[in-house]
């Protein structure tokens, strides 16, 4: 049997699989392609130091998809893809502060922060109205320290997770940094001034792998969970620093 015949048999299987969703097939044409726009924003950190203000920024791109009313398994589900990397701020003496693509509580922080800053709407079309309002806001915005309490959720940090490394070549030397007390990590006189975001058309920032050579190679290093601090999520460790889910 030739390879092409094997592929044909596989298509027959797929046809059979499609038929098992007979009821779903009856709902033909009820989904439709999602046309939610892709956008970019610049994330900037400003840090006061005894040597003056230090800044770093990164342009991040977000693609948002909204599932149709008849999507399976979760109609109306909002999903994101991201392209971008963490912000790096050089503080001198080899010390580097990183603002990750996630917050302490939300692994999708970088995909949602701009939307979360837009005014909330109610009623039909609430999501689309809020999304449109987000796109219209082009001015620089300073992040609040916390997002308001919502439903069962207490007020959550609106800041990205901040970390530094004792040794940039050793991923296990990662250390979380308290945004309210940078001095505890970097010494007296170092203080987070503010974190801002702003819509932009600038190209997505690249190059962090030149500073963090182990990015994407963690699995080859045969490291275990216990090698990292317990307060650092590690399941997608490299993904906290760089994502390219948008191709």
């Amino acid at each position: 049997m030739s390879l092409s015949n094997l592929r044909l048999k596989r298509r027959s299987f797929v046809a059979s699989a499609a038929l098992t969703f007979g009821a779903a097939l009856a709902l033909s044409g009820c989904g439709g392609a999602d046309d939610t726009p892709t956008y970019r924003y610049r994330l900037t950190l400003e840090v006061d130091t005894p040597e003056g203000l230090k800044t770093g920024s990164s342009v991040i791109e977000v693609e948002t998809d909204v599932a149709g009313d008849y999507a399976i398994a979760t109609p109306g589900r909002v999903s994101h893809e991201l392209r971008g990397e963490a912000v790096t701020v050089d503080l001198g003496d080899g010390r580097v502060l990183f603002a990750l693509l996630r917050s302490n509580s939300d692994s999708d922080w970088a995909s949602r922060v701009m939307f979360m800053l837009a005014p909330a709407y109610a009623g039909e079309g609430a999501f689309q109205n809020r999304f449109d309002a987000m796109l219209r806001k082009r001015a620089e915005m300073a992040l609040p320290r916390y997002f308001p309490r919502a439903g069962h959720l207490d007020a959550r940090s609106a800041y990205p997770m901040l970390v530094t490394f004792g040794d940039l070549s050793d991923p296990t030397s990662v250390e979380q940094v308290d945004p309210d007390d940078l001095a505890a990590t970097f010494g007296e006189g170092v203080r987070l001034e503010r974190i801002t975001v702003q819509m932009t058309d600038d190209p997505v920032t690249t190059g962090i792998e030149e500073r963090l050579g182990w990015l994407g190679k963690i699995r080859e290093m045969n490291l275990e969970r216990e090698d990292f601090p317990s307060d650092i999520p590690v399941g997608d460790f490299s993904g906290m620093f760089k994502k390219e889910t948008i191709r």
């Binding site: 390879l3 596989r10 499609a18 439709g32 398994a73 399941g235």
Partner: protein, 227 residues
Amino acid sequence: MNREVFFSLLALDSYNRGYGANVDGLWETGRIGAAKIRPFRPDEQSGWQDAGFYAIAYEWNGETVISYRGSNFEIVFDTIDAALDSPLVKDIWNGWTVGAGFNQASQAGLAIAFYEDVTKKSVFDFGNGAATLTGHSLGGGLAGFVGALSYNNAVGFNHMPYGLAAKSQALFEATRRAVSALGLDHYTVAQVVEGIEGRFRDFVEPTRTTDIGAKSCPLLHSIPAPR
């Protein structure tokens, strides 16, 4: 709590953890009921979001349970041909080739890899009871797929068909072992399959069975693992 009911909660839980979680505020650590979440290894989730894949494992009363998340797919097709090109097909069972089995970056490949990471056993190490698989929709299909390959129990909820995918992957593994055992290393698996007319026809006939016991892998049973 009824065992199947609890599995339904674990199947649901995979939608609420990690990237793209349906519910805010749930970490990838801690517990759900009596099930303790197995900690992820560093970068264990590498490539998952690219593939739209997610899974999570638990220890529940001495039993290892793996819950696979189902991807969303749109009902945008109105013909069978269009259905074949739907996200359903592309997300799930794409990536299989005669020469290499399921691509390691495909959902099926990642489902196998996570099973092996969690259990520290090959998916072809039969009947070891290493884990129980569960999932909803596509996730249920992945659970059945891995369960069929590994002879482990799987509990699927509105799950996708998986039988032919499991047979196809078993076919690839059997052929790979045969090629190695017979010292035919100068041939590729694809070349061996192409050279045998009709023998694999019975293996790849379409089937509607969703029987978890896809145990008819005679080639795999009779050929020992390569040393």
